[in-house]
């Protein structure tokens, strides 16, 4: 199966999250060594901002995709309801068979009148 654009974005997001984790670790290691971690912390904050922006954009795209599938589901449900109605009409057809019986009775009555 071809990887969708959304799945590619998931992979990219996953990588940025991985990178963000590495930046946090690097900052902690530098701080343990008594070094200045400010520049790493700065990049860590930027990575988190990027992650948040990607998540927000992907959630919006996802909702858009969901709405298109909702249209399909509504069409399916409309089709299902139509089929249910047709089956209800099937009952009417059985009712028509009953009316055929009644007409047979009438025909018999007509034939009897001819005898």
């Amino acid at each position: 199966m071809a990887i969708s654009a959304f799945d590619k974005k998931l992979e990219i997001l996953s990588f940025v999250i991985f990178l963000h984790g590495k930046l946090i670790r690097l900052a902690l290691v530098l701080e343990q060594m008594g070094e200045d971690s400010a520049r790493v912390r700065e990049r860590e904050a930027k990575a988190l901002q990027t992650i948040d922006a990607m998540r927000a954009a992907m959630l919006t795209t996802w909702s858009g995709n969901a709405k298109s599938v909702m249209r399909d589901l509504r069409a399916i449900n409309a089709d299902a309801q139509r089929r249910v109605r047709e089956l209800e009409n099937t009952i009417d057809r059985v009712g028509k068979l009953t009316s055929v019986l009644e007409r047979i009775d009438k025909a018999i009555a007509l034939v009897r009148n001819l005898l």
């Binding site: 701080e31 996802w62 449900n77 299902a80 089956l87 009952i91």
Partner: protein, 325 residues
């Protein structure tokens, strides 16, 4: 030849013989009605649609919906509390104010800046709507399936009416109608199978037409669950960073508690990720389970054990996590 087919042939034969016996012209109304009626009973037969598998499928969808609402809330809650913490850290209380919506919308207010947790809420709402539509679809399938579906009628009564009419017709023509009860009551079976056959056709057509959309729903749900898992990882990293940043400024008691707090954060995160993994796998089984509805005659035929195991696993994980906390 099956007994049912034999019964149908016999019914038709009897009808023709009755017409011949009466010497009624082909154009006479009685002959037309009699033939029309007997031939109406000559319809395709087939297996009925059992409602048990459909009900089991519907139950699985409903359980998945409940499980997803709980599992996806983990990411949302963390994003919510991070947003509150971050705004508090920079004294940005303006970002926490709700504003009126223009043009006038008395029952709505909105948060400035559209925080991430609101986007998560919106996506969850969309997933809920997808589930609702899916359940409505299942209800339609239930309407068509089973003995209590919409297409029920009193076939025995119809058969009785037929026999009465035929006997009346024979009596009126002063002929002996030597037709065993079984032939006429056989009509009941034919007619019932006719309706069941119609249901099977309608049911299979619905399953086949819906399959690509059901597959797409499952794919979408899996995408959202995966996005939620990655979101949870991001929230974990943000929480971990906040807890370990500037450790030197922490009080002695807070610093002493920090390793335990971090381990608890780890445990909670691993538990929530495992639940999302099970949920993702459960959604993955949805398309094949749906496809099997077309041939399943019992809930067992659906192969629900896989999805049931994932759902049980989710419940077990929650129970274990609650016990450990």
């Amino acid at each position: 030849m099956s007994s049912l087919t034999a019964a149908k042939t016999s019914v038709i034969k009897q009808g023709v013989e009755i017409v011949k016996a009466q010497g009624i012209r082909k154009q006479s109304p009685a002959a037309v009605f009699v033939c029309a009626f007997f031939l109406s009973g000559c319809v395709a037969t087939g297996p009925s649609v059992e409602s048990a598998p459909v009900q089991a499928f519907r139950d699985s969808v409903a359980t998945l919906q409940a499980a997803s609402e709980t599992a996806l809330a983990a990411e949302r809650d963390r994003a919510y509390f991070r947003f509150a913490r971050e705004r508090g850290e920079v004294n940005d209380f303006a970002a926490l104010q709700l504003e009126s919506v223009q043009p006038m919308s008395p029952f709505e207010m909105q948060q400035t800046g559209n925080p991430l947790f609101r986007s998560i809420d919106s996506a969850h709402e969309s997933l809920g709507q997808l589930h609702d539509l899916l359940l409505r679809y299942c209800d339609a399938l239930l309407s068509i399936s089973g003995p209590d579906g919409v297409a029920t009628f009193d076939a025995d009564a119809e058969a009785g009416a037929l026999r009465d009419a035929a006997e009346s017709f024979a009596a009126s023509a002063d002929v002996s109608l030597d037709v065993p009860d079984g032939v006429f009551f056989g009509f009941a079976e034919i007619a019932r199978n006719y309706l069941e056959s119609r249901r099977r056709d309608e049911f299979d057509a619905l399953i086949n037409a819906s399959q690509p959309t059901i597959a797409r729903v499952a794919e979408l749900a899996q995408q959202l669950v995966t996005l939620s898992a990655l979101g949870l990882q991001a929230e974990y990293a943000a929480a971990y960073s906040a807890m370990t940043d500037d450790v030197d400024s922490l009080s002695a008691s807070r610093r002493a508690r920090l390793p335990t707090d971090l381990l608890e954060l780890n445990e909670e995160t691993l538990h929530q990720l495992a639940v999302l993994g099970d949920l993702n796998a459960a959604y993955g089984t949805l398309p094949s389970t749906h496809a099997r509805l077309a041939t399943a005659s019992s809930a067992r035929d659906l192969g629900l054990s896989e999805i049931a195991e994932y759902l049980r696993s989710i419940r077990r994980r929650y129970n274990e996590f609650e016990r450990s906390n």
